[in-house]
């Protein structure tokens, strides 16, 4: 018959297995991040190539395609190495579905490149195709962030996802700004879009700052020297404040592109550091859990089974145990049982209670991290609802919600909840 200690050991093994799976997923996300970076560059160069009617940037683009293909091969190898047979990955169903979507997109990539090569597609259409593929890749990263049950790791994963998403908005800002400068004329709709991308980008970077370590936040600050930032903000002002129809200097297009590219390369440095930090934390936690497991198994060889039986009920006191969840993690007896040598002073009961407390506090912290992910999901969902119902673009939907929040002096998440609460009442015009 299995004892309490058997289950303690099993619980610890599960924890270790999950951490190892996380370390594996983390490696996968690293390659995903590199492919995203490569495709972002490829998207930028394709834009310049199409913008110059094929006259310029053809070799740069070809070189970048070669690089992207190399990373794509690595990512496919990563996918291949995933254990798809034993159905054991915690978040398997969702993660695998996202990967299926990405693979479909990667299969379509040669076709997309051919359309660009022959200039059959306009810059805008090509950009949106890359945006879609990158969105699919980022969804893989998101699923990884959603699955961790260790709060420290979960915080870093949330920080990483938001940083990568912020970088993607920066990439889209680069494309939109380049096109706007190149067109030689200010356009109110495009300016609105640009503002939206800047705003979305800053929200992501703020979540990153909240959830990452102080060291990583500092690294990101260092990677944004004031001079570069001032130049970026100056060009943003020029782009966004010009009156609709006013002339823009088309020669500024490559300057803007380079300035944005520098920013994105620096973001990649921080992203890589974040990835290393994650792997380090995973490895540390695996090592700690393994040491823990050893001490458990050492104990199982010596401990008598009913040693401290009644101490289970020791602190049972009025009102202390009415709520299932509170009581199992509450202040239960921690005095070592009498009559055993020092090596048994940390009795099994203590271990069980320590484990319960630890899981509870991990669960509490995890709830906080998840809440942030959840808020994000709610805002996205409310936006989608407004888009469907009022036939709004994403920017317009976001702006509407932000306006509602300002007018009603409420947080964006509260507005989102209010919008979603109306979901059953609003007809969906898409259907």
């Amino acid at each position: 018959m299995k004892s309490a200690l058997n289950f303690l050991v099993a619980a610890k093994r599960c924890e270790i297995a999950e951490l190892q799976a996380l370390a594996l997923t983390s490696a996968l996300v690293n390659v995903t991040g590199r492919l995203v970076h490569g495709l972002q560059r490829e998207r930028g160069l394709s834009n310049l190539y199409l913008g110059s009617n094929g006259a310029r940037f053809a070799p740069e683009r070809q070189a970048q395609i070669g690089e992207s293909q190399g990373i794509e091969g690595e990512l496919r190898a990563c996918f291949d190495s995933l254990d798809t047979d034993s159905a054991t990955v915690g978040n398997g169903a969702r993660l695998f579905s996202r990967i299926a979507y990405v693979l479909h997109g990667l299969d379509a990539l040669p076709g997309l490149r051919a359309q660009i090569e022959s200039q059959a597609w306009a810059a805008r259409k090509a950009t949106e195709a890359y945006v879609r593929l990158i969105a699919g890749l980022l969804a893989v990263v998101f699923e990884a962030a959603d699955s961790a049950s260790d709060p420290e790791i979960s915080r870093l994963l949330v920080a990483r996802f938001n940083f990568m998403q912020g970088k993607e908005f920066a990439g889209q800002e680069r494309a939109a700004g380049s096109a706007l400068f190149a067109s030689g004329r200010a356009d109110a709709t495009e300016q609105q879009r640009l503002l939206h991308l800047i705003d979305s980008q800053e929200r992501c970077l703020q979540v990153f700052a909240e959830f990452s370590s102080a060291a990583l936040s500092a690294l990101w600050s260092q990677n944004q020297p004031s001079a570069t930032l001032a130049e970026l903000e100056r060009m943003r002002r020029v782009l966004c404040t010009a009156t609709h129809g006013a002339a823009l200097d088309a020669n500024q297009s490559p300057v803007w592109f380079d300035c944005c590219s520098q920013r994105m390369d620096r973001m990649k440095v921080v992203e890589d550091q974040l990835a290393q930090e994650l792997l380090r934390v995973c490895e540390e936690k695996i090592a700690a859990a393994l040491r823990n497991l050893q001490s458990f198994t050492a104990l199982s060889a010596t401990a008598p089974r009913e040693s401290d039986a009644l101490s289970f009920f020791k602190d049972a006191q009025p009102g202390g145990g009415t709520m299932g969840l509170a009581s199992t993690s509450g202040a239960a007896g921690l005095t070592p049982p009498q009559g055993y040598g020092p090596h048994l002073e940390r009795s099994i009961l203590e271990l069980v209670q320590e484990q319960a407390r630890r899981l509870q506090s991990m669960g509490d912290e995890l709830d906080t991290v998840r809440a942030s992910l959840n808020e994000r999901k709610l805002v996205e969902r409310a936006k989608g609802l407004l888009m469907a119902h009022r036939q709004l673009s994403e920017e317009e939907a976001h702006k509407t919600m932000r306006q509602m929040a300002m007018n009603q002096n409420r947080r964006l998440i509260e507005v989102a909840e209010a919008v979603l609460a109306m979901a059953d009442v609003l007809p969906d015009r898409r259907r």
Copy 2:
């Protein structure tokens, strides 16, 4: 190299594995529920036995102990049958830890029974010992509810957990009321405790009503005939409204006990029905997923790999793909690809997109279910904080929060959030 379809199949397999694990956990929870029911009766009879100074209810108690022991054996066998070696269960670490805690309590049960047998422990202390053990068992049920990723099943699990928790409050109400009648005198503190138990019970039953099916809610209504309910409410009124120190009719104690016991037996009927419903839903979903899986694998034999490559980008349109999560589940192209026979009209892309949409909507619904579990956790945690900081009993902490909610015209969950936000500021006197 693995294709999109490989990962679709793998995702489906994960889904099936999770459903099967759920069906297994569900069976475990059924036995847990039966043991809880047995221990609740044992607790009641032990109370009556101790209350009569051992003069009455000894044989009834012995018979019930025998029954409890039988179910305990079944539950231990269930625990033994769990796969603790492969560390594959999704929620393994938490579930196994809860089981370790329960096993420790079960090991201590013979000691508890001996204390009661020899009347060494007072009724109140014995009751609290049973309360603690039952709380541990309900924590196992809670972990099961927390792990499901299918929203329909998750709803039923939440309904079941709350119903079982409500039944346990009913059991504690039975014990508290019996003791109060038996004491022959009204006591303000005990009356307060009783009101708190009734209130907690009703909150649980309300969550049950919100989350269970209409058929189950109806079944619960049928199992509460008006006559029985009226009698219960009459005795509740007598108990709770008597002035502190006023006389109570001690002869009403067994009448109250029987009335409450009837209620609990009827609750068990509903609980069993809920369990059957859960198993049925699990089995249906497993069967559907298996059919789905077959259609996937049939497709993989015939489908060319790059069949509908560019259709991945087909609907790529401005503004449609800027948000990673929205875009993968958004309105992507659903037109069947051209050039294949009817058996291939449902292309892989379609399947991928359908799966993405399905997972998204399941995730959305699941968030709603989890939010309810989460609110519960937050309220409990805030209560624990108040108990630690202000040295309050659980009832007092709950009452304080309810009072704050009324005064500020806010929901209990909002008050809990406010209390928790102060956590870092408040010193914890326990430490």
